[in-house]
């Protein structure tokens, strides 16, 4: 695992930055982050599987304004790393445990970042009001820099959790136990995805379109 650490850390940082700071091109979307992590590790199957799983968890949140939400991008990166190095075929259980904790940590770190930015803005308020372009540039780039540190720290913490899980939990987890964990993780993701879908769609006419889509999906699933 140690050989892949710099790459995972760098990629997790890019993914974390993409969520809010720059460039918001959805590299932080779990499906993208997971698939590209899998590609980098030579394990596209695990990347896609965990990318889909965390994408379903992502449906549970709308990143609107000052709302608090977990951060699933770096979480997916470390989860794919966990699944790859765990080596259990289709075993997403332990990887999801690590990923969900990292997502929670990422969410907390975003609140801390916002508070730090608020403090910095309050301190620079006189210079900002005076139209000091250097103060403005410094303040804005410092916010960016803080997010780089935050994203790197969250990814590093997640990778630390991966190491702990692989060292202490994986050896005592039986095959049955891993399967049970995978069932719980997949079930929770499907439930979060379905509940999030209903929240996005809302009420009224859109529900009929959702029902039509469901019918179409069932037919295609049956035919495929």
């Amino acid at each position: 695992m140690s050989g892949a650490l710099p790459m995972l850390l760098a990629w997790g940082t890019v993914v974390g930055l993409d969520l809010v700071s720059v460039p918001q091109m959805m590299l932080s979307r779990p499906l993208v982050a997971g698939a590209l992590t899998g590609l980098c590790l030579g394990d596209v199957a695990s990347g896609l599987r965990l990318g889909v799983l965390f994408e379903l968890f992502q449906y549970d949140i709308l990143p609107v304004g000052a709302t608090r939400y977990p951060e699933y991008g770096p979480a997916t990166v470390v989860a794919v790393a966990a699944a790859h190095f765990d080596g259990v075929p289709f075993g997403v259980g332990l990887a999801t445990v690590v990923g969900l904790f990292t997502a929670m940590l990422g969410g907390v770190s975003l609140q801390m970042l916002r508070r730090l930015n608020t403090r910095a803005v309050a301190q620079a308020a006189p210079a900002l009001e005076a139209g000091d372009v250097r103060a403005l540039t410094r303040l804005h780039l410092a916010g960016w820099g803080r997010d780089v540190v935050r994203a790197a720290a969250v990814t590093a913490a997640g990778l630390g959790l991966v190491a702990l899980a692989l060292t202490f939990v994986a050896p005592v987890l039986t095959h049955r136990g891993e399967r049970l964990l995978s069932v719980a993780a997949t079930g929770a993701a499907l439930a979060a995805g379905a509940a999030g879908t209903l929240r996005i769609v809302g009420r009224g006419v859109a529900l009929r379109w959702l029902a039509a889509g469901l019918a179409g999906g069932v037919v295609v699933a049956w035919l495929s």
């Binding site: 918001q24 889909v52 799983l53 949140i61 609107v64 900002l128 403005l136 136990g177 039509a212």
Partner: protein
């Protein structure tokens, strides 16, 4: 003017980098607007510094549509609009730019394309599905950012007309059912694909866990989130899994 508009456009991709509870994206919007305000530096009357000072005040918008406000407010400054009018414009734009963007992007374009990518991945498209999602999503994303900035800059204090353009209403009307359709289409495919890794009793257990968890999430959305429920479920399964020999 084109290079300055280009510089402002590139800076818009970082508009949320200094997001804070006091001014929200105000500092980022001021940073993005700065290249557009540079012509004001030529005068000796301090208009540039006054405009920049105003440009960093409280502002909120969907990040992809923040260019509408950045462009319009910078143009109003360059056209010499009174400070009170500029402040009124800033306040008036914040609400609509947030709600239109949330509706079109966060609750429309993004989940619709994400659902189609999930469905394609479940049907075996793999990496090409992810690549197509990135390319198509960002084609819309970058176009929307550019439209916003150029509309704001071209219309200045009359930017409200840009938000009344028919395509916005049409896009909203089209995206709502399209998103619902795509999400509905994806769910059974993803559920089936996710269940393929399990056999027999495990698959039945998966269906039960998903159904009960969904019920709980619908029953107490004020208390339970996907993350919380997921953590509880995997924690219970982890303990049970370590004990189950």
């Amino acid at each position: 003017m084109k290079p300055r508009l280009g510089a402002a456009f590139l800076r818009l991709f970082t508009v949320q980098a200094s997001w804070n509870y006091e001014r929200l994206i105000g500092v980022g919007a001021g940073f993005a607007a700065e290249p557009l305000l540079r012509p004001l530096r030529d005068g000796e009357d301090g208009r540039y510094r006054a405009a920049l000072g105003r440009g960093t005040r409280y502002f909120n918008a969907h990040p992809y549509l923040s260019g509408v406000g950045v462009g319009a407010l910078a143009r109003a400054e360059c056209d010499g609009a009174p400070a009170e009018q500029i402040e009124r414009l800033r306040g008036a734009l914040a609400g609509p730019l947030g709600s239109i963007g949330d509706r079109l992007v966060w609750a429309g374009w993004l989940p619709a394309l994400s659902a189609l990518a999930l469905a394609a991945a479940a049907l075996g498209a793999g990496l090409p599905a992810v690549a197509a999602f990135l390319v198509i999503y960002n084609a819309g994303h970058v176009t929307l950012r550019w439209w916003g900035l150029s509309s704001g800059w071209n219309r200045g204090v009359h930017v409200a007309t840009a938000l009344q353009e028919p395509w916005i209403r049409r896009a909203g009307a089209l995206l709502a059912p399209a998103t619902a359709l795509a999400l509905g289409f994806a769910l059974p495919l993803v559920a089936l694909w996710s269940g393929e890794a399990f056999r027999g009793p495990s698959r039945v257990t998966l269906a039960l866990v998903a159904a009960v968890a969904f019920g709980l999430l619908r029953w107490r959305p004020d208390v339970l989130s996907g993350l919380r429920l997921g953590l509880v479920l995997v924690a219970v399964a982890l303990v049970a899994g370590m004990l189950w020999r």
